[in-house]
């Protein structure tokens, strides 16, 4: 943990809280990291992209469990229903898509690297990514439900569509990846645009005490720190491709 849990003297007004959250995201969006722009420009190596694919799978595969944990702790029927809808989208093809998002991430990783599903599954995941996954579970388990939702929706998903678009365009234009082989990125470009708005609304409506606002700001700082580690790790390209 690197972020400091601040003690706010009093609750921030809605607009001030929103601006404070945005201020902390500024300069730390996914698309602010070199890796995303290297792919868009066709300057990333295939190893770097393959490594990204494998690590992104290991990040994505726990999302249904993280959401389930938050869902199980949620007392608000309306919010719980919204979590359930997202969980169905993440883990199944029932409402959207052809597969769960972990399977789509696995498809991209295997097709780009040539590794088998077992090889991707058993890939030695670096400590920084394991720390990130552990952080996600910790937040889902211990933070107030709306803060836990904001952790993902605000600190990551609010700026994920732009990242997915840059990666997808780069893969298509410079690496010859067909759209059907990179659905894992494409499905988030336009499909997730309303997630951010929803997350901000829930957080601004429900996270109103100084204690919870401090926790929300801590989560944003901490999750962005882990994402920074994620993107820096992907640039190492520590994988041997089989195609």
């Amino acid at each position: 943990m690197v972020a400091v849990l601040e003690k706010l003297p009093q609750a921030m007004p809605r607009e001030a809280f929103l601006q404070e959250m945005l201020r902390r995201i500024e300069g730390k969006r996914h698309s602010d990291y070199p890796m995303v722009n290297l792919i868009r420009a066709g300057k990333a190596t295939r190893e770097q992209i393959g490594y990204l694919g494998v690590l992104f799978y290991h990040f994505t595969k726990v999302t249904p469990q993280v959401l389930s944990m938050i869902h199980s702790r949620c007392d608000d029927r309306k919010v719980r229903r919204r979590i359930m809808d997202t969980l169905i989208d993440e883990d199944t093809e029932l409402r959207c898509g052809s597969k769960g998002h972990d399977e789509l991430a696995l498809d991209f990783a295997t097709r780009f690297t040539g590794l088998s599903e077992d090889e991707v599954e058993n890939f030695p995941v670096p400590q920084s990514i394991r720390d990130m996954v552990a952080y996600r579970f910790k937040v889902a388990r211990e933070m107030p439900v709306t803060v836990a939702l904001g952790n993902s929706g605000i600190a990551s998903e609010s700026h994920a569509p732009q990242m997915c678009r840059l990666i997808s365009d780069g893969l298509r234009e410079h690496y010859g990846v067909k759209d059907e082989d990179q659905e894992s990125w494409i499905v988030h470009i336009d499909g997730d645009e309303d997630h951010s708005e929803t997350a901000f609304k829930v957080v601004l409506d429900k996270v109103t005490s100084p204690e919870d606002q401090a926790k929300m700001l801590w989560c944003i700082d901490e999750y962005l720190f882990h994402w920074g580690n994620f993107w820096k790790e992907t640039q190492k390209g520590q994988i041997t491709l089989k195609k």
Partner: protein, 106 residues
Amino acid sequence: MKAVLRPWPADFKGRPTVTVCINDRDERFAPCCGRHGGPEIAAALRAAVTQRALDIDVQTIMCLGLCAKGPNLRIAPSGSLYHALTVDDVPHVVDALAADLNAVKV
């Protein structure tokens, strides 16, 4: 048909891609493009692009993440979207694409 049109990147010189969703799955919980003309729209687009000798790559995908709005197609790299498409809309889409291509390549 509904369109969300976005500008082409200023420095774009490559070959645009039109990606049509053809996902065909159980519709108990949400509609899917594949059961409302997705494959036929993709075929009509390919035929129209070939007939007019346009330098456009027509691809298919199993989901664009916009199931409730389908049938959908996406144009890259502009990011423009067409929703609620029918085969009858294909000539209009191709006309718009051809016009865009001319404008981009001037």
